[in-house]
């Protein structure tokens, strides 16, 4: 398969008053044409920074420390400003996190899309562009007559669709979707997710889907990448990763959230707080919160390596067995007994002594 995008050891730091924030640290992956990659992680883990560095839209205080971003074989960071401007949207488009805010409130939605088309395809006439927008609107399920309306006249879901239509306007080869459904209600979210998948399959486009919600990623991605504190911890085919999460963080993320289907299970809690990226922990960045951590984890940074076909991992102590779902009985154990509850509180003391948001990390494993 053709490789569309390749990140090689991408390392991006932000300069702040307090020092350098290591927002992206040595991230490498590649994406094939037509493939969809899901990036999952908590807020502040560097997902959005990756999206922005792919568009070369980082704020002024960002600095590319090392690494390359190869798009269709071209190093994006070797291009001039004008070249990258022309490449944006034409080749790489983006669906923004806050759709409500990513439309200019004072221009009609249709015009904002037409403007993008006319900018990148100057030979197109305005009429042709209008026709194209019309068909895009149909594609995403907005009545074409609403083209002339202003964003404030749209509902949240419609705005999100309009933003998707806008992203598709120049038929880019890669779309980056940055949490496009976070602010939406489940039913709308479901519809949008399905539409995105539909369209992507129809026009065979690559996509990077960024979300903090493992479930959403599971629904839309071929390949899943798990990020933590600016680093990629695990990356692999969705089926593999979800069936056999190797990194403890992946595992915790998957089971930290109650599910609606199946039996009620206990929740895995991840103690503590994500690290401060001004001074991330030595060794594995997840080790202070990891129940599997050993002394080695605190000292040696795990190597990013392929463990199976297309399945990459950075961990000293990967979970080797089939993942065990935490079971309901354990919930009952902590829930019922008073002893257990007070025990939890005493444990909290110890955890907070380390600093941060301690909570009952009573053995989930």
């Amino acid at each position: 398969m053709d490789t569309l995008l390749r990140l090689e050891d991408l390392t991006m730091h932000y300069k702040t008053k307090a020092g350098w924030v290591q927002a992206i640290d040595g991230v490498s992956f590649s994406l094939n044409k037509g493939q969809s990659l899901g990036l999952v992680g908590e807020s502040g883990c560097g997902k959005t920074s990756i999206a922005m560095s792919l568009m070369r839209l980082l704020p002024n205080n960002a600095k590319l420390v090392r690494g390359r971003v190869l798009f269709g074989g071209q190093d994006l960071y070797a291009l001039s400003d004008e070249e990258i401007r022309k490449l944006r949207w034409k080749k790489i488009a983006m669906i923004f996190q806050a759709a409500m805010n990513s439309l200019n409130p004072v221009y009609s939605v249709g015009n904002q899309i037409i403007e993008a088309i006319l900018t990148h395809e100057p030979e197109t006439s305005e009429e042709e562009a209008r026709e194209r927008v019309k068909s895009l609107f149909e594609l995403v399920g907005i009545p074409a007559e609403r083209m002339g309306h202003y964003p404030h006249e749209y509902s949240g879901g419609m705005k999100q669709r309009a933003v998707i239509a806008m992203a598709l306007a120049c038929r880019p080869s890669l779309i980056i979707a940055d949490e496009p459904t976070t602010a939406l209600d489940v039913i709308v979210q479901d519809k949008i997710l399905r539409e995105i998948e539909d369209i992507r399959c129809k026009i065979n486009m690559s996509m990077i889907y960024i979300s903090h919600d493992v479930s959403v990623i599971a629904e839309v991605s071929d390949v899943v990448g798990v990020m933590y504190a600016g680093k990629l911890l695990e990356l692999g085919p969705a089926d593999d990763v979800f069936k056999k999460p190797r990194n403890p963080y992946t595992y915790s993320l998957m089971y930290a959230y109650p599910s609606i289907l199946g039996e009620k299970h206990d929740l895995v809690t991840i103690p503590g707080e994500p690290p401060n990226l001004l001074a991330p922990p030595a060794g594995c960045r997840f080790h202070p919160r990891c129940d599997w951590a050993t002394k080695e984890c605190a000292k040696v940074e795990p190597v990013w390596h392929e463990i199976a076909n297309g399945h990459y991992l950075a961990c000293h102590n990967p979970i080797r067995t089939e993942a065990v779902k935490p079971c309901v009985e354990q919930v009952a154990a902590t829930g019922n007994a008073q002893v257990a509850a007070t025990g939890t509180v005493t444990e909290m003391h110890q955890v907070t002594a380390k600093g941060g948001d301690g909570n009952g990390a009573s053995g989930s494993n």
Partner: protein, 320 residues
């Protein structure tokens, strides 16, 4: 984050220090934090330095007149130096020269500084106290109170201050304090009310106001302990801008000779103007430059501090 914690307590129900001391420390710390942000603003720092410089300059007046200067010669209002022709250019005796009626410019400048401070700060404090109270009340209670005060504000916005004060000043000579009060009151019911009300309104719909209400807080409690403290930084910011407008108005009205103020920077220029020295700018520069510059720098200083504060108060303006 942990290094900010006070001395590790034992978790027992006794504080290691008296409460006021802790609060004092906290105030100092939050002040220090604001100061850190403020220091980022070059403009704000220039403003602060200027204000301090003016403060020192103004404080020199009582010292000089009580020690070095002969009040007969250097009194800013009635002083006269019979030894020289007036207006005399800067010399060793009169560092900034004398005005057309023989008074020492430097002494006038120093003497006025303190009074300008008083005028500016007094009227600004009145403005802000009124603006904050009215704005908060209007925002919190809404309804009739809101309508009445906002209409008043609309109307006051219609008043061109300077012409109005010219009219008033020419009919009843306004002296220093009444003028400061009028400026303060007019300012307080005008534009600032609208801005502070908007701020109070945005504070009053915050969830923590609901939380306070659920906790059982009365309206008074909510206004005094939640809304006003959160509006105050903005009030303080607008106080800076009010100082500027008060001083400029005073100077302009003094220039037109409609105020009953015996000495101010505006009066100094007025004196030079009526005596006919204010058109050959280069030659009689000492008659207008010190006072004109003082007005501009003084106003600009407060304005700059205001802009610096803006970055503290409004984090969205901060540099990333």
């Amino acid at each position: 984050m942990n290094e900010l914690a006070p001395t590790p307590g034992t978790g027992s129900a006794s504080l290691t220090e008296p409460l006021w001391k802790i609060r004092w420390k906290l105030t100092r710390r939050s002040f220090a934090q604001s100061w850190e942000i403020f220091r980022e603003s070059r403009i704000g720092m220039i403003g602060i330095i200027l204000i301090i410089a003016f403060g020192i300059f103004g404080a020199l007046w009582p010292i000089m007149i009580n020690t070095v200067w002969d009040p007969m010669v250097y009194d800013p209002v009635v002083g006269f130096d019979p030894m020289s022709m007036h207006p005399s250019p800067p010399s060793a005796a009169h560092l900034l020269g004398t005005d057309p009626i023989g008074r020492d410019i430097l002494a006038q400048l120093m003497y006025s500084t303190g009074r300008e401070f008083l005028l500016g700060v007094l009227s600004a404090v009145i403005t802000v106290v009124i603006g904050t109270t009215v704005g908060t009340a209007a925002a919190y209670y809404g309804g009739l109170i809101d309508t009445v005060f906002m209409r008043i504000a609309d109307i006051i916005l219609l008043f061109p201050f300077i012409p109005l004060l010219v009219v008033m000043g020419s009919m009843v000579k306004l002296s220093f304090l009444p003028f400061a009060v009028i400026m303060g009151v007019l300012g307080g019911f005008g534009g600032i009310t609208i801005i502070l009300k908007a701020q109070a309104l945005s504070v009053s719909v915050r969830p923590y106001i609901d939380a306070a209400r659920v906790a059982g807080g009365s309206d008074f409690h909510i206004i005094v302990s939640h809304i006003i403290p959160n509006v105050l930084p903005l009030s303080f910011l607008y106080m800076m801008f009010s100082v500027t407008s008060a001083i400029l108005s005073e100077a302009t009205l003094s220039f037109f000779g409609v105020l009953n103020i015996d000495m101010s920077w505006g009066m100094m220029i007025h004196t030079a103007d009526v005596a006919g020295y204010l058109f050959d700018f280069a030659r009689y520069w000492w008659l207008w430059a010190p006072s004109g510059l003082a007005i501009t720098l003084f106003c600009a200083a407060f304005y700059m501090v205001g802009r610096g504060l803006d970055e503290v108060v409004n984090p969205r303006l901060r540099k990333r």
